[in-house]
């Protein structure tokens, strides 16, 4: 578990990559209840002008959440978590799908053992999350 005392402002968190496949999106549709066609039907996605099926923004946010909670060492450590969805994660119909690359930097240490982490998420050349920030409470 990451300890408040061991964290330094400016510290970079080890980057991590997470897959997003067509199967992930179908599962996420079912688990979240968001069955928007653009997340599973290539024909309809293309018909509304998208390059292909795209991941749910909330699927991408979930990967950023996993990144921070894995680093903190406690899945319940978040007190504030916000993102802007700045580009789409395009998921092709092949065996690998898309990759979401997440990195983070410790931005601030706050009262009450709180640490603010600035997050970045990219997929291919696109920055898929911007203004992404998580505040965790550390022991």
């Amino acid at each position: 578990m990451t300890k408040f005392a061991d964290v330094t402002v400016g510290e970079q968190l080890p980057p991590a990559s997470y897959p997003a496949t067509r199967l992930s999106l179908v599962k996420y549709c079912g688990a979240s209840g968001d069955f928007n066609f653009i997340h599973w039907n290539e024909r309809i996605a293309r018909s509304v002008g998208l390059p292909n099926v795209i991941a749910h923004g909330m699927f991408t946010m979930a990967q950023a959440g996993r990144y921070v909670t894995d680093w903190a060492g406690d899945a319940g450590a978040l007190v504030d978590f916000g993102v802007r969805f700045s580009a789409m994660v395009v998921v092709p119909d092949d065996d690998t799908g898309a990759t979401i690359d997440v990195s983070g930097t410790v931005e601030e240490k706050l009262d009450g053992n709180l640490v603010a982490v600035a997050l970045t998420a990219r997929s291919g050349d696109a920055k898929v999350l911007s203004r992404a920030r998580a505040v965790v409470r550390l022991p």
């Binding site: 990967q63 909670t69 969805f85």
Partner: protein, 148 residues
């Protein structure tokens, strides 16, 4: 046409109680590909100080989306849902949601702003237990792309 700015500040009735289950949490964790044992193993969660398995940080979207539908789907607000994308999302947490929680969610339209040809509508949805304990607040911003 267009989004009716008079709806800023309007609140909608709380949802029916929603019971957070171990099975739903495990399904959600599997769907996001997160193997954290605190989501699936009650003894691991208890060893970490939680009464039961906890839900991933983005799980509350399942509850806030259902609640904010009352606001977003309000015909008087005038959102063209076919032109909408999810622009921003934020959660503030008093504690993680966990299995066994019975919660209600209540939405308010907390922001309407025009940016060029786009309209951004933010709904603020509070999740509380049926006993009134605050668990989480979700802020979801939808962006309606202009048709012109």
């Amino acid at each position: 046409m267009g989004v009716n700015a008079d709806y800023l500040g309007r609140s909608y009735p709380a949802t029916e109680p929603y019971e957070v289950s171990r099975v739903k949490i495990a399904d959600f964790a599997e769907a996001i590909g997160d193997p954290n044992p605190l989501y699936t193993d009650a003894s691991a969660a208890q060893a970490a100080g939680y009464p039961d398995v906890i839900a991933p940080p983005t799980f509350p979207i399942v509850i806030t989306m259902a609640a904010s539908r009352a606001a977003i789907g309000d015909p008087g607000l005038g959102i063209n849902y076919a032109m909408v994308v999810h622009g921003e999302q934020r959660f503030t947490y008093s504690r993680p949601l966990r299995a066994g929680d019975v919660v209600v969610a209540q939405s308010t339209i907390s922001g309407i702003r025009e940016v060029g040809s786009m309209t951004m509508v933010t709904t603020e949805t509070e999740i509380k237990t049926v006993d009134g304990e605050h668990v989480c607040t979700g802020y979801g911003t939808l962006v309606e792309r202009g048709s012109g």
